[in-house]
Symmetry: C2
Subunit: 408 residues, 2 copies
Amino acid sequence: MARIVKKFGGTSVGDLSRIRNVAARVKRTVDAGHQVAVVVSAMAGTTDQLVSFCRDASPMHDAREYDAVVSAGEQITAGLLAIILQEMGVSARSWLGWQIPIRTDGVHGAAKIDAIEVASLEERLQDGQVAVVAGFQGLGDDNRITTLGRGGSDTTAVALAAALKADRCDIYTDVDGVYTTDPRIVPRARKLEKVTYEEMLEMASLGAKVLHTRSVALAMRHGVRLQVLSSFDDVPGTLVVGEDEIVEQELVTGIAYSKNDAKLTVFGVTDKPGISAAIFGPLAEGHINVDMIVQNIGKDGKTTDVTFTVPSTELKHTLKILEDLKDRVDYDGIVADNNVVKLSVVGVGMRSHVGIARKMFEALADKGINIQVISTSEIKISVLVDAAYTELAVRALHTAYGLDEPAQ
Amino acid sequence: MARIVKKFGGTSVGDLSRIRNVAARVKRTVDAGHQVAVVVSAMAGTTDQLVSFCRDASPMHDAREYDAVVSAGEQITAGLLAIILQEMGVSARSWLGWQIPIRTDGVHGAAKIDAIEVASLEERLQDGQVAVVAGFQGLGDDNRITTLGRGGSDTTAVALAAALKADRCDIYTDVDGVYTTDPRIVPRARKLEKVTYEEMLEMASLGAKVLHTRSVALAMRHGVRLQVLSSFDDVPGTLVVGEDEIVEQELVTGIAYSKNDAKLTVFGVTDKPGISAAIFGPLAEGHINVDMIVQNIGKDGKTTDVTFTVPSTELKHTLKILEDLKDRVDYDGIVADNNVVKLSVVGVGMRSHVGIARKMFEALADKGINIQVISTSEIKISVLVDAAYTELAVRALHTAYGLDEPAQ
């Protein structure tokens, strides 16, 4: 007997027949003798409709009212799945965020879970009843509904799994697992059987759109074993676990890429102490998430060129802030480039091995690809290159690290 | 300064532009210096959609899950109206049934309100904030959402007005008041300025589809002054009040009719003590709502004919129960007639006057209309006649009681 939390996203519960599929899947797990809590999203399209109602009602709508409106979507799915499970002879009931309750802070529209009081819910689970939990929602300290923001239902599932000390949290999605790289670029990309939280975090934030960073970080903090799997196919997915569960570590687990960044170079900056703070302080205040940063001494030795990346969506805002800095920071000009890709080689194994970076640089050089910026962490190396080389570079790296071969 | 509860039904909040009209109307009342609580239904069509989801999920769905699903409709409208009021510069917030809370019994799908704990809501009203309350929903003692069944939002509004000791409860609908009779039959029918609870109860249950019996009865019990008015036109409606508020009572206030009944005659019943109980006991157990009853001695003096009416929708069920009685009750046969109309003359003034009934019988006889069954109460006389005479009879009665003339 295991205790399992399962989470199904909007496309998995897109209509009644898909909700029936979800119910059948839950029933199989129940019939196998397990305790099951299911976290559901709103039916695909419902959230968009409700969000657009709020926007049309007022562009500057009250986030508390937005939460009351939008959370109705998950409420509907939870009730419907409970009805269908009962119809199949499975004992089940729906739980709304305020009923459990899932206590959150008061940041409406982007709340954080403070605590989940699982006592009543756990009692029912032990009686063999399936708990169908509305994802994405909680109860603020103002006694009003809060929503958790992007990736909210994943977060609900992981937090619930932690609170229930579940044996596993299954995240059902429209892909069947985590791959060594994007299979659309490298058809020989392999589905990984296991990946560590740290690797998954790097992969998630670097463009492998399987799990939201936030839920992976939460799972890591609480040691929740995650499984990513398809809600449409019945095949094993990828387990996201602690390093101790991975016996034979690969040097490199996967190759990620992201085209969501823009590169900026502020050149001819008068080089004096505090110049970095003068540039990056105002960007931080503007909530601009600066990623890679490189600073070079200029040709004359008295000025410097500062290069960094920001999300493409923030490019305009960033340029505006830099323009406004003109009085305080002396620089010659700014060049922005949206046409870049960030390539990352990820693997916990690289901690104890040297030569990983050199292999990356050589593989790219072999293909004549120029590296513009480099950044590294303990378990990844990222480089920025011209976006035109994306496919070529990803394939070269996948081959260079031996990922084309079947797993041993 | 008055405290006013306003209730808007599904067509009044059918889309965002209509919700804007509602908000504008609320704003005018606020600007005039009043405290306002608004009760809203789901946007027209939403409830039907959610109900059909539940039915498709399972014909035998759990009423608790149905309540969780269907109550989402009013939740959405409440949030959207609050957003639009704020956009117009009116302080407002939404209140869900469980937030106030509106405590109900545990009969999911058809709950009764036990108590409304208005302390927090009243505090906000006194601060000048509009309370936008989701109608039709409450909180059961199982800490789950309940819905109030048919006419539920009207009931929410009246119960809230009682709990808040509101000066008035305005029910906005698609007609602009209560008329002396159906204006589609009698174009000269007059809109009544005032009507008593008792009269309204008779009118509501007899076919004038303006207010649900349940909310009128609740208003009468708590002395809540109701106003029925149009959400589309800006004209005064009809006040539903206690008798003491009506200075000059008309003898007859209105003529109601209902085609929703079927007449049954069980003839040749052996006449012995307890025979009525033998027939009507099993019907009551079958939850059949029997209305008018007449018992005649048969031609031979040893048998009797029993005639009564039931809702047409219950005719089949009634016939089935009567068939099953064949072993215990000796009768010759049953004749059922769906083609009847119940005409009612209603007015609190008739308590102290004689001759009202005679005028009714004469007016119908003048037109050659045969009366099949008669029943009376303190403030109404109802007769059953062939449905083909409906328009003729209603017009004759409207004229006979002087209702064609303008009000004095």
